[in-house]
């Protein structure tokens, strides 16, 4: 179910304001179609977290509200929506209301450049990775503004700590992104996934994969790096003064951010929408439709280089069975979702397994361990590319 949304149709018709309105409506509907499933995924992610943690702790988790607790997230959302919104008296009300809005919006904006399948991306930006980096740099502000505008000491301290933690781990994330870009040659996320066609980046860049997984835990303030929002130590940090809808927005924003970072991890290291070679459904097609080797060789453009002239099974099949163009099926989004679930499970697994880092331990880890390691890896990768790879 690959889909390719193209809006070039509208660009030739900017005659009047109405066509621009049509464009906006089209974009709005496209965005909704993309984002609503993500929000539903986020809702069930909260349930997944609670159930999986419960299972790891040998208990049940929420199982009262729906069948096996499936309606729990909606119950939580309803509870939060019907609560009274409180704005503290001396708080700066504009900024107080703006902070959760910023957090939520930025989490959702990052999804615009994520490719879920080949061609299944809203904005195929050549600077997609830099865009995501900019979005994560901006999401620090939601927290700083929240803490400061709450006019409360615990909130303020929690927000400053959280912001300092986020910017510290962003540095090592940036360096890891640089080494990925050097291997793939482009900042375009679809190009990065394409560069992993023969081997996923988690295999040659395994240390950076581990570092990235840990850094995104710290970036999203997840356990074990969640001291700034811990209930016991800091009375839940920057969102202590937020009551109903504000807290809901922070909650949703945090989980959508977790999904975003997990998706980024999948795209950068785990091959995005690429299948494992031995589980590739293209091979299954070959078996069922009895495509012979000669048919493939007839289309294959054999040249000196081993890696050029590759052809997908779909092109060969379309020669012999043209009707497949109308019922085109490619399970690449399912691969993406499967890998995303693995990374999300890792997030929850880590939460259930490890105690919390103390703040100075956390910061010294970020600056004294992760930063040198990622910097050394950047230099190592550049040396390898310079001396061992024919560009």
């Amino acid at each position: 179910m690959t889909f390719n949304l193209s809006y070039n149709f509208f660009y030739n018709s900017f005659d009047n304001l109405l066509s621009i309105v049509y464009l906006f409506i089209y974009f709005f509907v496209e965005f909704l179609l993309f984002i609503v499933p993500i929000l539903i995924a986020m809702a069930f992610f909260t349930l997944v977290e609670r159930k999986v943690m419960a299972t790891m702790q040998r208990r049940r988790g929420p199982n009262v509200v729906g069948f096996y607790g499936l309606l729990q997230p909606f119950a939580d959302a309803l509870k939060l929506l019907i609560k009274e919104s409180i704005i503290p008296s001396k708080a700066n009300s504009i900024l107080f209301v703006l902070a959760p809005i910023i957090t939520l919006s930025l989490s959702m904006i990052g999804w615009a450049v994520m490719p879920l399948g080949e061609g299944s991306v809203m904005v195929d930006a050549n600077l997609g990775l830099l865009f995501i980096f900019a979005v994560s740099s901006l999401s620090v502000y939601g927290i700083i503004i929240a803490g400061w505008s709450s006019n409360s000491k615990y909130a303020f301290l929690g927000s400053l700590r959280s912001a300092a933690q986020m910017i510290s781990y962003e540095v090592s994330i940036g360096l890891i992104l640089i080494s990925i870009v050097m291997c793939s040659g482009s900042l375009n996320l679809s190009a990065i996934v394409n560069a992993q066609r023969y081997v996923w980046f988690c295999i040659p860049m395994l240390p950076m994969f581990i570092l990235f997984m840990v850094s995104i835990l710290a970036e999203t303030n997840r356990p074990p790096f969640d001291l700034p929002e811990a209930e016991a130590e800091l009375v839940s940090g920057y969102n202590v003064e937020y009551a109903a809808v504000g807290f809901a927005f922070f909650f949703i924003g945090e989980y959508v951010n977790i999904l975003l970072m997990s998706a980024l991890c999948v795209i950068l290291f785990l091959g995005g929408w690429l299948p494992l070679p031995f589980l590739d459904i293209n091979n299954l097609y070959m078996f069922f439709f009895k495509v012979t080797k000669e048919a493939i060789l007839a289309r294959k453009d054999l040249s000196e280089d081993l890696f050029s002239g590759s052809i997908t099974i779909e092109e060969v099949l379309l020669d012999y069975y043209p009707f497949l163009a109308y019922i085109g099926f490619s399970p690449s989004p399912f691969w993406f979702i499967g890998k995303l679930l693995f990374v999300v499970f890792f997030f929850v697994w880590v939460r259930a397994s490890f105690p919390r880092f103390r703040y100075d331990q956390l910061m010294s880890l970020g600056w004294k361990v992760f930063l040198p390691l990622s910097l050394i890896w950047v230099i190592f990768v550049s040396l390898v590319i310079l001396f061992c790879v024919v560009l």
Binding site: Y11, L130, F131, W148, A163, E170
Partner: protein
Amino acid sequence: MLLLESINFFVLLVSLFLIFSAIMVILAPNPVHSVFFLILVVLCLSSLFLSFGIDFLGILLIVVYVGAIAVLFLFVVMMLNVRVDQTKESLIRYFPVMILLVFFASFEIYYFMDPSSFLSYFNLFYDFWVISFCDPNVFIYPDDGFSFYKFLRDSIDSDLLTLHSEQNLLAMLASTQYTGIFVDNVYNPDFRLNAVAQFNTLSLNSLIFHYEYLSRGDVFITVFNDLGVEWWTLLCKLYIPFRSPLSLDEVFDFQFPSSGLDLYMAGFLDKPYLLSEPTNIDAFGFLIYNYFALPFILVSIILLIAMIGPIVLTLDHKKSIKRQDIQCQVERDFNRTISLKI
């Protein structure tokens, strides 16, 4: 495809909001609000950059200025305990400084709007100015009897150029920009041909300066290469040895990747279109790593000093404070942690 090519309503609106935010940076009573307005300024600027097609710099502005520098500002300003009434001081005191800054800023803006005619603003002194600005010992070439003045005289009535009055010759020369170079004292508009000749003989001859002394005074003629770099960038000429001299094949074969211009030149296309233009990052990399390599390294050294300097200045390892040594803790042998002293 939605790139702007001229000022329109969107640009006007964003620019006005930018100016408003910049004014509010000064006028906001609360310093934290000032920093937020500064962030708004950078965001507006970034949106303008993006709409004009400067994508890399636009997003980099957000990452660097908003994501790092403004966070730094915010941390400092939030920790300071500034009373709001303390910030109400008179701004009239800063008026002279403002005039000076406006002068220099407009100076810079006029220079970057039209670098070639910039010198014509200094009509009274520019000939003297120009020679003193550059070091002629570095760039001068021997004069073998060719006279540019004579060449211009001969070409005045031809279609190469027309002059209305000879007295304006000096002003005209200073205000125009030539894209030709002189090789063996013969004017040749085809730069590539001469560039090849130059690259083969002397590796440092990427640009040529030709001083010609006219009877009415000294005129400084700059000759631009196809990158449009100016004389001051020749300071980086010393660093062209970072790359080896180009051969004939390399000069003509160099292309930014996947450009459709060669197909047009070869006649396969009826009109030129670029399959893909060199991206902003391509262009940056081309300049920074080839022509401006040493300035880049120098700037990174300055940045390194700026990062490490404060740490060195403020680091104070007191011996009396107990610290955690994780390696020591992890290596501790359980069997030897407790012992009885009898």
